[in-house]
């Protein structure tokens, strides 16, 4: 096992000791079930498009709760010192923290597969799994990007609250603000800018479109924030 997976494993386990993680998971699943219940009616389309869009909204408030402690807590309790004086590199730590948090996100997402199974049972004549698969791919990519942004914010402060608020603000700005603006009358320039944001790119996935440009967008920016976080950890060497 590599050092990054050792750190990831510890991080994932620690979520199961934390009440906040359970609360976040419960809120996410309950909110998802209400949306699904609303859509699961005779005559409606047997799909999960609404649910996927709703999930992104939920993640804007839930990912900050999952990511806030990743590094802020290490700074505030001083455990970072024990961690960094073991023979591990900054990138081991960042990758490990990210993977641990991402694994918890997947655990949180897993029960929603049940909805796909329920749809498959009741759909008439037949369910189209294409948009569901691409929708899941999209939500997993959005989760990865959100977590890497959260991890970055968590590396900048000792306070978990500050980390959570900062993460929520950034996620709000790249997801909900563009959604709100999309209904407004805007110039062509602003339209182009909005098309670059998470909201616009994500909705394509829930429609069943897998665009390599969108795929690259999420992977690239996830990597960028992980890279920034590594630099923040290294920065103690320049101070």
């Amino acid at each position: 096992m590599t050092r990054a997976t050792t750190i990831a494993r510890r991080e994932l386990t620690s979520y199961f000791y934390s009440p906040i993680a359970y609360v976040a998971m419960a809120v996410f699943l309950i909110a998802c079930s209400f949306t699904f219940w609303d859509d699961f009616q005779p005559g409606e389309i047997a799909g999960m498009r609404n649910l996927f869009n709703w999930m992104v909204w939920l993640l804007v408030s839930i990912v900050p709760l999952l990511s806030m402690g990743l590094l802020a807590q290490e700074w505030s309790t001083g455990t970072i010192e024990a961690l960094m004086t073991a023979p591990v590199s900054e990138s081991d730590v960042v990758l490990g923290k990210f993977l641990g948090s991402f694994a918890f996100f997947l655990v949180m997402l897993a029960p929603t597969l049940l909805y796909a199974a329920i749809l498959a049972l009741y759909a008439n004549p037949r369910i189209d799994f294409g948009p569901i698969r691409s929708g899941y791919l999209g939500i997993v990519l959005v989760g990865a990007l959100f977590i890497s942004i959260g991890l970055f914010c968590s590396s900048l402060t000792r306070s978990q609250i500050v980390a959570a608020v900062a993460t929520a603000a950034v996620l709000f700005a790249i997801t909900i603000v563009p959604w709100w603006a999309s209904g407004k009358l805007l110039s062509q320039t602003w339209r182009t800018v909005l098309d670059q944001t998470v909201f616009k790119r994500y909705t394509d996935f829930s429609r069943g479109i897998i665009d390599t440009g969108h795929l690259a967008f999420f992977l690239f920016f996830t990597a960028v924030f992980l890279f920034f976080t590594t630099k923040v950890l290294e920065s103690r060497r320049w101070k």
């Binding site: 620690s14 001083g78 455990t79 024990a82 004086t85 023979p87 101070k239």
Partner: protein, 326 residues
């Protein structure tokens, strides 16, 4: 084993560590002694590769702390100040995680975990969650973690702080037992700790080394500042003049209000290097016919020595800063 050359660390304008150099041979226990804020922790943080030095350098086990940081970290065990731990984990779980992080093979890891649990008296709590442990047990978990991979070098930042007297004695004994197999650097601001555990002490104040040597050597150096107290009944000025003529006496000071009896004077004599002046002083006083009550050699305590050297240093530093500012 550890070689430090001209190590300097600046936080902004303040020098936390100011060009210090020292060496620690293999198997020795060295105490880093100094008041709070003297630069002890900073030096240890640099040696463990947590912080980089501003200038100067150091090698641990032959590896450079800056260029071969990972090699250095493999060979050393570190107990940070205040012993930070993941409190939601159980003791054995935490040690297992630390062992995995150091890539110890499974069989060796399990054997070493059993060993350090026994060695650090963690047996009764090894299945407990760390947040439920007392400060003393937590400190031992930190120590167990530092020992886990059987490192050649152990760096312990205030290993006995927060422990009760019985635990302090146990911990010191444990550290003593480690000598020979491990090279140990520990920091403390408690003097008896150095006497009890260390082969050598390095006294640091305001970022500089102000004294170093074995506890015996330090004790020898404090004998230099020892004084002889003489209590006799005689005219004040004559007593002072007579004692001043004794060979080997460098200064004589009459202490007021020291004697319960107003007729008696108490004189404090500073002997010159290597002189024992007690017999000569007694002879002179008797010869003059002054009733003699006491001739006593008073060792300056190590405490006093410590306060003196560190206070001098701090004062020198603050005048320097004033000069720089003006």
């Amino acid at each position: 084993m550890i070689a430090v050359r001209e190590l300097t660390k600046a936080y902004g304008q303040t020098l936390a560590v100011d060009h210090i150099s020292f060496e620690v041979p293999r198997g020795q226990i060295v105490g880093f002694l100094g008041p709070n804020g003297a630069g002890k922790s900073t030096t240890l943080k640099i040696l463990t590769c947590y912080l980089p030095p501003t200038s100067g350098g150091a090698t641990v086990n032959g590896f450079d702390i800056f260029h071969e940081s990972e090699k250095v970290r493999e060979t050393l065990g570190y107990l940070p100040e205040n012993c930070p731990l993941y409190t939601e984990m159980k003791v054995r779980e935490y040690l297992d995680y630390r062992g995995r992080l150091r890539k110890m093979p499974r069989a060796q890891r399990l054997r070493r975990i059993d060993y350090v649990i026994e060695r650090c008296w963690l047996g009764p709590v090894h299945h407990k969650t760390i947040s439920h442990l007392s400060k003393g047990y937590r400190q031992r978990v930190g120590l167990a973690d530092a020992l886990l991979h059987n490192p050649a070098v152990l760096i312990l930042d205030e290993p006995t702080i927060g422990l009760d007297p019985a635990q302090i004695r146990e911990t010191r004994k444990l550290i003593r037992d480690l000598a020979g197999h491990h090279t140990v650097v520990l920091s403390t601001h408690i003097l008896p700790e150095v006497e009890a555990t260390c082969d050598r002490a390095i006294v640091i104040a305001a970022g500089r080394i102000v004294a170093q040597g074995s506890p015996d050597e330090l004790r020898a150096s404090r004998r230099l500042t020892a004084r002889v107290l003489v209590e006799c009944r005689g005219p004040r000025s004559e007593v002072q003049a007579a004692l001043n003529r004794v060979s080997g006496v460098s200064t004589v000071e009459i202490l007021d209000g020291q004697s319960a009896d107003a007729q008696y004077v108490v004189a404090a004599l500073r002997p010159k290097d290597g002189y024992d002046i007690r017999e000569e002083v007694a002879r002179i006083v008797i010869q003059r016919g002054w009733p003699l009550r006491e001739v006593r050699l008073e060792h300056a305590t190590l405490e006093e020595f410590f306060v003196q050297v560190t206070a001098n240093q701090a004062m020198a530093r603050s005048t320097q800063e004033v000069q720089v500012a003006s």
